[in-house]
């Protein structure tokens, strides 16, 4: 008991010793709260979004992304060109880039990294799709990289593969790679070339520390350190921001954003992100080996006209308002409007509106008429049955969306039942084809090729979750994938979105946002991506980690107009000194309690049975 009290008292007194070191350091440290793990620091192994952020700080890329719309922008490569037949890509790299151990970063490092992706088994798992059709990578001189292709690949120059130092990684064998951690040792940071150097952190760990790279070719960072702290849930992360233990929280929900907007010294917003949410249909699962129908999906959903009619039975505004608290935009196609250059916006006359009469009329026309009991039937008169709507149990928005959908279906005379389930189970059910309708979401990469491919017949039994398969669509997919003329490719990509909108394997319900909040009394100059309206920190590329700076150095943020300017110049020093005084008080109270308790015990000890009876 006394030992326990002493331990508690000790814990109370520690802050007295700790606080000065925490605030007295001259280094400027930008601390980010991540809510989610960093699963591996080895770029060939990790799959979590947070791991991608770690690699991005530590390494460079041949091609970067623009702040405006994530289109390709110069990275290690200053320029690039394509041969007329699209089978040769030549990248011209900048000179004088060095690794953190002093060695030169050359085209050989790029070729080495890409070769590993092309030829290694585990190395190819994360990255091989980006080098689709590439047969050979060569480095004819120090600053030139040449990719030779079997056939044109329009997704190039999108190459989000971190460039690794050959002189370090050539020693990692194929067999070692599967558990090669690539973690820093005390005193020896991970060798990289990015704006920061990873000095501490382990896979699944709770803090990751990066020191600035003073020689970074794309501008020296303005902060000395970036620290990522992993929180396992969002509320404590928000509390840590309010307290000032962290300077930035990301991926918080709209209610948390709203609560933080009222806090002094904090700026919070919902940033536009390339995300969409959908109601997906089982358009006809088949056994990929035999081609025979599989599972027990409702036959009505195999009919595009039936699915399309349901597009008019979804009140997107209500979903945005109630399921996403208004922090989203009504959705249309599978390429979010954040990618303005690729997005196809349906003209007013074909765009879904919430119109149950129209939906009913379209269903009537397609033969799904109401029977005598008011329920819709199949064109041949058989009952339509009950549609199974599967929601993700870990997402309230998912359950809400399908609950709304169930009401609207009931208005149309269609029975349905909502069942929430865990995402693993839902993934299995989708692969087995034993579902009718589900709700899920996608994160879309800067090139639409990847999301478009999910609707090709090739992806049946793979990443396709709607079992959509159409010859004309596949032909267009192949065509755009090889179309080197950008304008022509955009045309095809838009046509593909149009076809999916009409055939409706998905009803895209919302383009959601990512909630972020920053201690704007301490740090400034975050430029949104996409600009304007986009997210402030976890972006494509690391421009903002070199842009952001302490408020007192903010100035005009190098003339970037859209950057987040300092909100107030006040510092929170008063709070911490007040805190110290309070600690003394609390410490005193604890000591008093201990003394009082001790005295009480001593008196009790002396009392005998006689005294008490």
């Amino acid at each position: 008991m006394l030992a326990a009290a002493a331990l508690l008292a000790g814990a109370v007194l520690v802050p007295l010793a700790m606080t000065p070191t925490a605030t007295g350091a001259d280094k400027s440290t930008f601390t980010v709260a991540l809510t989610g793990d960093v699963d591996s620091l080895n770029p060939f192994l990790g799959v979590e979004a947070n791991s991608y952020e770690m690699w991005a700080l530590a390494y460079d890329y041949l091609v970067n992304y623009s702040m405006k719309d994530m289109s390709p922008a110069p990275g290690l490569a200053k320029t690039w060109d394509t041969s007329a037949d699209g089978k040769t890509w030549t990248f011209h790299m900048r000179d004088g880039v060095t690794w953190s151990d002093g060695q030169d970063l050359t085209a050989r490092d790029v070729a080495f990294t890409y070769d590993r992706v092309l030829n290694g088994e585990i190395e190819g798992v994360n990255w091989s799709t980006y080098l689709n059709n590439v047969t050979q990578v060569s480095a004819p001189d120090q600053t030139t990289v040449v990719l030779t292709l079997r056939k044109p690949n329009a997704v190039l120059p999108l190459l989000p593969i971190p460039i690794l130092p050959e002189h370090i990684w050539k020693n990692v064998s194929e067999k070692q790679m599967k558990s090669y951690a690539n973690e820093p040792e005390p005193g020896s940071p991970v060798v990289g070339s990015g704006p920061f150097r990873l000095t501490s952190g382990t896979a699944g760990g709770s803090t990751f520390t990066f020191e600035k790279n003073p020689d970074y070719w794309n501008g020296t960072p303005h902060v000395d350190q970036v620290v990522f702290r992993v929180f396992q849930s969002k509320d404590p992360a928000v509390q840590a921001l309010i307290k000032g233990e962290v300077d930035f929280v990301e991926d918080i929900n709209p209610l948390q954003v709203k609560a933080l907007q009222g806090q002094e010294g904090i700026t919070a917003h919902n940033g536009i992100s390339p995300l969409f949410e959908e109601i997906g249909f089982n358009t006809g699962a088949v056994d990929t080996k035999t081609g025979k129908p599989m599972g027990d999906g409702n036959p009505a959903l195999r009919d595009p006209r039936f699915r399309h009619a349901l597009g008019y039975a979804v009140d997107l505004d209500r979903i945005v308002k109630n399921a996403y608290q208004g922090a989203a935009e009504a959705g249309t196609t599978i390429v979010p409007s954040a990618y303005g250059g690729w997005h196809w916006e349906p003209p007013a006359d074909v765009k879904f509106s919430f119109d149950l009469d129209k939906a009913g009329q379209l269903l009537d026309e397609a033969g799904y008429r109401k029977g005598s009991d008011g329920k819709r039937t199949m064109p041949d008169g058989r009952p339509l049955g009950t549609l199974r709507l599967f929601a993700r149990s870990d997402s309230k928005a998912s359950v809400d969306t399908l609950n709304f959908f169930q009401e609207w279906l009931a208005d149309l005379g269609i029975d349905s039942k909502v069942t929430p389930m865990n995402t693993n189970r839902l993934g299995e059910v989708i692969l087995e084809g034993t579902y009718d309708v589900f709700q899920w979401d996608w994160f879309v990469e800067p090139d639409p090729d990847s999301i478009l491919s999910d609707f090709t017949c090739d992806q049946l039994g793979g990443l396709s979750d709607s079992w959509y398969c159409d010859k004309a669509y596949d032909a267009m997919y192949q065509q755009q994938n090889g179309e080197v003329d950008h304008a022509k490719r955009v045309e095809i990509v838009k046509k593909m979105q149009q076809q999916l909108y009409e055939d409706t394997p998905y009803i895209v319900t919302a383009y959601t946002t990512t909630g972020e909040a920053v201690r704007s009394d301490r740090f400034a100059c975050f430029q949104p991506q996409p600009d304007p309206g986009g997210v402030w920190l976890i972006q494509y590329g690391t421009k903002n980690y070199t842009m952001l700076r302490p408020v007192e150095q903010a100035g005009d943020c190098d003339g970037v107009k859209s950057a987040l300017k300092p909100v107030s110049a006040e510092t929170s020093d008063s709070a911490s000194s007040g805190g110290n005084a309070a600690i003394v008080i609390v410490g005193g109270v604890v000591v008093l309690l201990l003394l009082a308790g001790g005295g009480f015990l001593a008196v009790r000890r002396r009392a005998t049975a006689g005294d008490r009876e």
């Binding site: 520690v14 709770s206 005998t608």
Partner: protein, 343 residues
């Protein structure tokens, strides 16, 4: 699992030393048997979980069948189940718990790293809750119906029925962030500050400072476990004749309570404490989550989502070993305390 501890007394006298050796041998064999059983069940149990690690980890990233296959091949997931099982047995007996599918590092390293935060957190809380709980139970039973009794029984029950994460968040909002006059003196989460060097006294204090709130949360939540059991078993003893005798001898109230009543009332609490200590290595999922403490509980729940078979097998092996060992220790201890148990 608790039933193993309670054995029926027997009157048959056997010569002391050999019988105890036989008793110990039987218990150890039994423990090993349980451990092997757990090993087999672990393997099968997790293969039944929904989900395919290659697909969970690769959603949106592993685009082609080749990528999925390469992943499965590298981590041995494409082998027949029997083959995997034999590899698993062989590896386990040679001390190799496999490579985590999620973190791609050896499971034994992972479990070792995650075990200490958990042992510190849950172990300290269990010890504190036992000591304080026993004291509260004792004090409230001795003065049954008194102010302290009513207050402490109500208080511990309220804390017991609060969800741990909510209690944790309340403590964060008050003692870590600070509300009104209450200063925020504790960190909101994590186990260490980033700028403290490991191995220094400051590091130890820093860890204690970080652990104060989570330990407080768990201790408060566990209190009722011990205080209520202690209270009721002491109440059972209070009416006994030997206490009247003790008092009649003129012994001080404290002596009667401590040396006569409490001694006998402690047995049920000992059982609970032994069992709970066994669960120390299973972690405290909710508190680890709220305070972002990288412990075993968190590791295990996250592994379930993948499912990360090797981490799950390893973590459950360690957790089961903890419980089995604690039970074994309790059994052996009972053998020492109460000779009637040795059969």
């Amino acid at each position: 699992m608790t039933t193993a501890i309670v054995s029926t007394p027997t009157t048959q006298p056997v010569s002391g030393r050999t019988s105890y050796a036989r008793f110990v041998g039987a218990k150890i064999l039994g423990a090993l048997g349980s451990l092997f059983f757990v090993l087999v069940v672990n393997f099968l149990l997790f293969r039944v979980l929904p989900g395919d690690p290659a697909r969970t980890l690769g959603r949106g990233r592993f685009k082609t069948e080749e990528q999925l296959e390469a992943f499965r091949h590298t981590y041995g997931l494409d082998q027949p189940l029997l083959q995997q099982f034999l590899t698993f047995l062989h590896n386990t007996f040679t001390g190799d718990l496999g490579v985590s599918l999620r973190y791609r590092v050896p499971v034994s390293d992972l479990i070792w790293d995650r075990m200490w935060p958990t042992v510190l957190l849950v172990g300290t809380s269990t010890v504190l809750a036992t000591l304080i709980g026993v004291w509260i139970g004792m004090a409230s039973a001795w003065n049954r119906g008194g102010l302290f009794d009513r207050f402490s029984t109500g208080g511990t029950l309220t804390l017991y029925s609060m969800p741990e994460w909510w209690l944790g968040l309340l403590l964060i909002a008050t003692l870590a962030v600070g509300i009104g006059p209450i200063p925020g003196i504790f960190p909101t989460g994590g186990l260490h500050s980033t700028d403290v060097d490991p191995g220094t006294p400051a590091y130890v204090l820093d860890t204690a400072w970080h652990l104060a709130l989570p330990v407080l949360t768990l201790t408060l939540a566990y209190l009722a476990d011990y205080s209520l059991v202690m209270r009721s078993s002491l109440l059972d003893e209070i009416g006994e004749d030997y206490l009247v005798t003790a008092r009649a001898k003129g012994l001080r109230d404290v002596t009667v309570r401590r040396h006569h009543a409490t001694r006998n009332a402690l047995l049920p609490t000992t059982t609970i404490a032994a069992v709970n200590i066994g669960f120390v290595v299973s972690g405290a999922i909710t508190v680890e989550t709220v305070f972002s403490i990288p412990g075993l509980g968190l590791l295990t729940t996250e592994a379930l989502d993948i499912p990360d078979y090797w981490v799950l097998q390893g973590a459950f092996l360690v957790a089961s070993a903890g419980v089995i060992l604690a039970n074994l220790a309790a059994n052996l201890l009972y053998g020492v305390l109460d000779p009637r148990v040795r059969t």
